[in-house]
């Protein structure tokens, strides 16, 4: 039987976390099996191809072609409308030597602490706490509340948090109320606190997602393992490190992939809260690319920066895919 599914696939292996966005390999793998059986391939695979065609066309038209066009643009000096000049690798040289652009890449990597490490750590703690709660209204309410920030559009979150971080905003009101007047400041206007403050908005949004996904993962861990470790007299910590954490490796890999991509390609939160300021303290590649491409109309340079960003994302994310599979 030929199966020509077009959705994201789940092959024989249990988990194949696929890097979202940049390199979806969905449809390609889906037809793998029929093609391997060469003798009976002819007639059946033709039908498969026909059925595959609409998805393939959409995929080529909206993912592959624009990406290749971006690659092509990156070798030109072009304003997006008028005539273009081929400039070879000049745009790439500029991206890799301009201190302002390099600093924005560094900021994006700093955001990984807030977009990835904090949400996953907090998510792990919360998920194991919720697991130890009795199933019932309280645990489902806790889950719902934790997940709520996920449904707030990031742009709106950025604006709302910018108000809360303001001189007279909620954060400072709270600090004054508990006698910490000394450390109040305009958090987004301070060069030292702007980037962490923006990062924490990301933590707030992503913790819910991490918790819920990790909770689902915990549910799949064989209950007898917990029983066994309990019988051996293990406490909460022992149980966490021996059973829960190893059992969640796949989920953690998926979350790390998603959140690292969110950190490196962040745009909306920063665009609505600081626009890269003060100075360039919160400038990230997303903002730079938007400005270079659409404000300065330097489509070539913006495309080159986009390509560099894509490569960086892949360099960080692909090893995670590999790590999650080792020793399985």
């Amino acid at each position: 039987m030929n199966k020509a599914t077009t959705g994201p696939l789940h092959s024989a292996e249990p988990q194949q976390p696929v890097a979202t966005g940049s390199t979806p390999t969905g449809p390609v793998v889906a037809v793998a099996q029929p093609l391997r059986r060469r003798p009976v391939r002819r007639a059946g695979s033709r039908t498969a191809w026909v059925m595959l065609l609409p998805a393939l066309a959409v995929y080529i038209g909206f993912v592959i072609a624009p990406m290749l066009m971006g690659l092509q643009y990156s070798f030109y000096d072009w304003n997006g409308v008028g005539a273009s000049t081929f400039v070879g690798l000049e745009n790439y040289t500029r991206v890799l030597t301009d201190p302002v652009l390099l600093a924005s890449i560094l900021n994006a990597f700093t955001l990984i602490i807030f977009f990835t490490i904090i949400p996953i750590t907090v998510g792990l703690i919360l998920a194991s706490l919720i697991r130890s709660m009795r199933q019932g209204p309280v645990s489902s309410i806790a889950q719902t509340i934790l997940f709520l920030p996920q449904i707030v559009p990031l742009a709106a979150a950025g604006i709302a948090w910018a108000w809360m971080y303001a001189d007279t905003g909620t954060v400072n009101q709270f600090l004054r109320a508990v006698g910490l007047e000394g450390i109040t400041r305009s958090w987004l206007a301070d060069y030292g606190t702007a980037l962490p403050a923006v990062g924490l908005i990301g933590s707030w949004v992503l913790t819910g997602l991490c918790t819920v996904l990790l909770l689902t993962g915990i549910g799949k861990i064989d209950g007898s393992l917990y029983e066994a470790v309990r019988l051996d007299g293990a406490g909460w910590w022992r149980e966490f490190f021996t059973v829960t954490l190893p059992g969640l490796r796949q989920e953690i890999a998926v979350l790390a992939t998603l959140t690292i991509i969110a950190a490196l390609s962040s745009f909306d939160i920063i665009y609505t809260s600081t626009q890269g300021g003060p100075g360039r303290a919160t400038l990230v590649p997303g903002i730079s690319i938007f400005r270079i491409g659409f404000t300065q109309s330097d489509v070539g340079l913006a495309s080159a920066f986009g390509m560099v960003l894509m490569v960086l994302v892949l360099l960080v994310v692909l090893p995670i895919q590999r790590l999650s599979k080792v020793n399985d």
Binding site: Q16, L188, T274
Partner: protein, 499 residues
Amino acid sequence: MLCAENNCGTYLRRIADGISVVLKGFSRGKLHQIFASTIDKGVTMSSTPRPGSRRRSSIALAVITAAGFALAGCAPGSSGPGAQESADQASVDVNTELTSEEVTLTIADETGFPVTDELAKEFTKQHPNVTFEITRDTFQNLTANAPKLLAGENPPDLIRLPTIGDTARDGLLANLDPYAEAYGWDAWPESQLAPLRMNEEGTRGSGPLYQVGLGYSITGIYMNTAIAEKLGIDGPPQTMAELEDDLATAKAGGVLPIVAGDKDGVVNFVVQAAMNQYADKEEFLSWMFNEEGSTYATEGNIKGAELIRSWADAGYFPSDINAVDYFTFVTRFSEGEGLFAFNGNWEAANYQKALGDDVEFFLVPPAEEGGDHVAMGAANSFSVAAGSDELDTTTYFLDWIHSDPAARQIITDVTGASPGGDPSLEQPTVEEGSLIADALDMAAQIGEENGQVDFMSNTTAGIYAGAIIPESQLLVTSKITGDDFVSRVQEFYENEVGS
């Protein structure tokens, strides 16, 4: 052949071509084989690596890349039919009679500027056969999308365009010279029109007229007179030294001397106001017009920037200045949170409403007693799309805005700006002693002293967000010197103009 007229069309056609190639290939079975092998390698790529898979996957990649370049076909946007079109327009027939047919003009304007709505309403009242369709987007989005809108199949007839940038060179804007001649716009002050011209080298100040203003703005200082009285300040400062004295008095009296914000760059009204008083005006303008060999790093500009740094050191700006956006800045002055605010005539009506008689509006004083005033001012600039089907009607509308008494009154009532146009025409009526009346007087005085300069944020498309805002944020919080500020902005300018 793949390089067609405009980009959108080209792109869709490439996709269509790509699909048809795939279809043809499919029927012949050739591409089928290629793709089949590609897919086979695809499997290899995503499962456990095995010997030789690296080579195969690179073949797959090569096939996909080659296919992509075949789709792309040619250099982006290399055909330039637009430039020809605009050249043709110079010899186009101009009809200054308004059409009697039913016509709908489209206008793309920014949000928060209702003046086009009011003008359209009045025009339709006078000429019922002409109706309007006005679309709005935020300033930033509109600026970013303008070239695409203008290059599209159905460009807006009239579009708010803060900087001409490459649009004129790419043939996207209608050359208004023939209309200017037909309507007698040569009676308008040339200093108003110069920034709206651009020559073939992309230098503003000369060449064909590509824009006109729906109102011509003027900037200055708003002073809260209630606070000033308490501090013993009895009137507007006459020199920069007096202004500095007033700032020191306010600081000593526990009042915020300058209400300002710099989250979105508005403090640059203060920065440039200081520069204007020390810089050579022509030199400064030639830089803003991107003349070859011009520079921002002049002695006067550095002196102005250093003055701002000393004001920052003295604590004349709010401590959270970099978190204050334009809206908060306006609100804070309206609520009486400080002595001075550097802003333009467009806020005159709002400030008047909030502060009543306790506010005054005047020009930034010159460095020396009795010197000429210099102030930023600019047209609220609109361009006509080269691809507009209604060039005659659109330009008739523009002429009407500058000459019809009702239209001129609307401009002043809604924007607080001078309607511009022929100076011999009667000025709109305004309430005696109001801030708008102040603004019109200031505009007239600057006209007389020939002291108008453009906003430095209009120098290039990217300079405001890319350099002026971030560097001024550092300057007003005493992180960099005035000299650093000027040289860093100049460096960015060279990069942008050079590329």
